[in-house]
């Protein structure tokens, strides 16, 4: 830690964060961040979304501690039980504990969402900024490609890709990512177009920096906030698409406790044992709602133009 020492007392930290003139770039950044945090705190629905996300992340991290049963252990004698003290959310068609499966299922959902984001963000950023910064033929070609991908609804595209790649969780991630990068690229391009004209980019260029350096060092960092907002909002869409794939049997393979797949297997019992489908459906709804609420709030803070 070579950064300035952090005061331990609350007042000292507060003073440091609210000082009218920041002493270092780090302090300036921290001040910005704390400002944003204050604004976030004023937005109850965003805060609620964040809290739910944190809760789900914690559940996923500590799933083995939270789960009450082995998620694979079957017991045909105890199938389709109603929620009770022994099985908080009942059991499924093979007598497995739904609560435990739900908790482990959070891992899969977050895994899909995160991995997709990790693939999509750099891909979209690089293509978008390159296209926007270089312009000309590169721009035309790349944007045509983006147009082609954008011309499909993401679920249809993901369906087609997953059918081509074969079912499975990794393939589902690739398929969703292939369908999700174009909007990010377009956003990054739009940002780049406005950044490109700014004086400091001209200054860097005059100093002889290469386009690669300018894009990576100066354009990309400026695009990150809006991309993060976009991604957070996209998380919900990603989760829904993943669940849709799972629902059609093209996502995670049994016995994996993926929520969409759990919902699909519960569909058979919708009239006799409705909770088996209701529970994972509610989990999907809550998770994606949390990302939407948080993303919506984040947009107000980071990206006031779209307020």
């Amino acid at each position: 830690m070579s950064a300035p020492p952090l005061e331990t007392s609350g007042t000292g930290l507060k003073a440091w964060l609210t000082a009218p003139i920041p002493a270092s770039p780090f302090q300036a950044r921290m001040q910005q961040l704390s400002l944003k945090w204050w604004r976030l705190k004023a937005n109850p629905s965003a805060l609620f979304g964040l809290a739910v996300i944190v809760l789900i992340v914690l559940a996923a991290l500590f799933a083995p501690l939270i789960a009450t049963h082995d998620i694979y252990a079957q017991d045909l004698g105890k199938r389709l039980l109603r929620p009770s003290a022994a099985h908080w959310l009942g059991t499924d068609e093979l007598g497995r504990d739904i609560f435990s499966r739900l908790v482990f299922g959070a891992r899969i959902t977050l895994y899909i969402a995160l991995l997709t984001a990790i693939i999509v963000a750099p891909l979209g950023l690089i293509i978008g900024t390159t296209s926007g910064y270089l312009g000309g033929w590169v721009d035309i070609v790349l944007m045509r490609v983006v147009d082609v991908f954008l011309a499909f609804p993401s679920l249809v595209l993901a369906l087609a890709f997953v059918a081509a790649l074969g079912p499975g969780i990794e393939n589902a991630i690739i398929a969703i990512a292939l369908a999700a990068w174009p909007p990010i690229a377009r956003l990054a391009r739009a940002e780049t177009l406005s950044i490109r004209k700014s004086d400091y980019i001209a200054a860097v260029r005059l100093q002889g920096a290469s386009p690669l350096r300018i894009i990576l060092g100066h354009v990309v960092p400026m695009c990150i906030p809006s991309v993060v907002v976009r991604l957070t909002l996209n998380m919900a869409a990603i989760i829904l698409t993943a669940a849709g794939l799972g629902f059609l049997g093209l996502g995670a393979q049994p016995p994996s406790p993926e929520w969409g797949a759990m919902l699909a297997s519960g569909r058979e019992f919708i009239l006799t044992n409705g909770w088996i489908a209701a529970i994972p459906g509610t989990a999907i709804l809550i998770t994606s709602l949390a990302f939407n609420l948080f993303g919506d709030g984040l947009r107000d803070i980071l990206d006031p133009r779209h307020g």
């Binding site: 389709l80 049994p254 019992f269």
Partner: protein, 546 residues
């Protein structure tokens, strides 16, 4: 400011009122539109069924149960399965038949005066042409005939018509007559087609295959009047039918893919019959006073198929061990109740030569036995293998159950669910380690499955005997092959049964398939529909009434 607040306050209800009134309007229309207690038409049979698989009505090409059932009710074959006993055959378009003393010649005497819906008279010429075109078109169904010696080169001489009302089958071997009648004369390949109409619509020498893709041209109690792919089918009573007119004038089949939806429709009285109910729904419906649950065993087996080419599954003992991982009893009482009965023999219950219920299912879940067998086979610590399966609803839970049991003795099975088309193409290409599959035979005789699931004429990869599941499993046992040939031609029934019993026991111990369940046909039927009549081989719409 105060003024504005006031004005907004008066405005708020206005916009809110708009919202509320639209909600109310929608609700009102909904309520008005709801038809209470919708009943089905008095003169029609209305059925909910998943009819996605239908792609053609050409009897030479049809290979799945739904279209088969439609054809059975629209296209008369030479003879019919007896609705009272599926092992017997009764006359249909052939009034009677004679058999030569050496069993090698069957002479069918056809009904006179019957007419196709087109007005053309039905003659022996049509019968000949219908049978021959199946062989010449060479779709999968051609095997039904080629298997008994009616090949492309011989069919013209072996199936002949001495006069306009007689058809003769000349057989190359002394097959059991009933078997031939069941396998060919009662099969859709013997559906009598309207040659003149079809040939008038022939395209590029396809013998009317394209024409029959969306319609039928034959004679039966019903005729197909409408088919909207993936939506519905309408059958109307055939006015000029030679036989008894059916009680119900129309049969309406609506495509409903979701089992839950079918159950809702049945419960609300929107359909008379639901064909794809889940066990849970059936259990619920059994208590209903409006609906009865009917079931009949069908000649379909659900099994775990091993590719014995290499790896652990090439060892007989490993395959035997796998059979002890199947929880026949537990699954049979839970997931498979109403869906099927445990069955470990390749010969289905009800077939000639089949082992009885007890002898045909000697296995039970026994992890220790399985472990011991694995150790003897040289896999004391288990192994890893893949298990693929399709979209049959019971495949996933059964696969998971087997996977869980296997994991307890160190066998790690990785599951992969895929579209049926993909599953079949992998299995046909021998590109699998193990798979969950179903197979249905067309005859109530042990030979039906023995000839395909066990007998393998040529196991070389380049032989491409892809229509034999035994070949797909890379399995060939020459001794069993010989025994199957012998049993087929054995004239003495007791001896024949004994031979099949031997073969079945042998296959249960070392065959490439661990048979698990024989499936039911199950239907929920509204109680105001009477005389629903079916066997494992045919459903008789014309016998149903209201």
């Amino acid at each position: 400011m105060a003024k504005q607040d006031q004005s907004t306050e008066t405005r708020a209800p206005r916009a809110a009122r708009y919202l509320l009134s639209s909600v109310a309007a929608v609700a009102a229309v909904c309520a008005a539109a709801t038809t209470a207690g919708a009943a089905t038409p008095k003169n029609a049979l209305v059925m909910a069924w998943n009819i996605d698989a239908i792609s053609t009505f050409d009897p030479a090409q049809v290979g799945e149960v739904v279209t088969n059932e439609i054809l059975q009710n629209t296209c008369d074959t030479l003879v019919d399965f007896d609705p009272a006993d599926e092992r017997r055959v009764v006359p249909l378009f052939a009034e009677r038949w004679d058999v030569s003393p050496d069993r090698k010649e069957i002479t069918f005497h056809l009904r006179k005066g019957a007419k196709f819906p087109s007005g053309n008279p039905v003659t022996a010429e049509d019968v000949l042409w219908s049978l021959r075109r199946v062989v010449k078109l060479n779709f999968g169904n051609a095997a039904t005939l080629t298997e008994y010696g009616f090949t492309k080169d011989t069919v013209d001489e072996r199936i002949v018509a001495p006069d306009a009302n007689t058809v003769v089958f000349k057989l190359d071997k002394a097959y059991p007559t009933t078997l031939i009648l069941q396998a060919i004369a009662a099969n859709r390949v013997a559906a009598v087609m309207d040659m003149k109409t079809i040939m008038a619509n022939e395209q590029n020498g396809d013998l009317g295959n394209k024409y029959l893709g969306t319609r039928t041209a034959c004679v039966g109690p019903y005729k197909l009047t409408r088919w909207n792919a993936g939506e519905s089918i309408v059958l109307e009573a055939n006015e000029g039918y030679w036989g008894k007119a059916p009680a119900l004038k129309r049969v309406l089949i609506r495509h409903v893919a979701e089992a839950g939806t079918q159950r809702l429709l049945l419960g609300q009285g929107d359909v008379d019959v639901a064909r794809d109910l889940t066990p849970e729904d059936v259990k619920d419906l059994e208590a209903s006073k409006d609906v009865s649950i009917l079931k009949v065993l069908r000649p379909q087996l659900f099994f775990w198929n091993f590719n014995v080419a290499d790896g652990p599954f090439s060892k007989e003992k490993v395959r035997l061990a796998m059979r002890y991982l199947i929880d026949y009893d537990g699954l049979g009482k839970t997931i498979m109740t109403y869906l099927g009965v445990p069955r470990a023999s390749f010969a289905q219950l009800g077939a000639v030569g089949a082992l009885d219920e007890k002898e045909g299912q000697p296995f039970k879940l026994d992890l220790e036995k399985a472990k011991q067998l694995l150790t003897e086979a040289g896999y004391p610590n288990g192994f890893e293998a893949s298990l693929i399966f399709g979209t049959l609803p019971h495949s996933a839970p059964i696969a998971q159950s087997v996977q869980q049991n296997a994991s307890k003795i160190g066998v790690k099975l990785s599951l992969e669910r895929m579209a049926n088309a993909q599953l079949f193409s992998k299995v046909r290409g021998r590109e699998f380690q193990s798979a969950m599959l179903a197979w249905q035979t067309g005859v109530p005789d042990a030979h039906g499955n023995a000839s395909r699931l066990v007998f393998n004429p040529d196991n070389r990869a380049e032989a491409k005997q892809t229509q034999y599941p035994s070949w797909r499993s890379s399995y060939q046992d020459l001794a069993l092959n010989a025994k199957i040939d012998e049993a087929l031609l054995e004239a003495d029934t007791a001896k024949r049964d004994a031979l099949y019993a031997e073969i079945q026991k042998d296959v249960m111990a070392k065959g490439p398939m661990a048979f698990m369940f024989q499936m039911y046909n199950i239907a929920g039927v509204r109680k105001d529909l009477k005389d629903w009549s079916w066997t494992g081989f045919k459903t008789y719409y014309a016998r149903t009434s209201k």
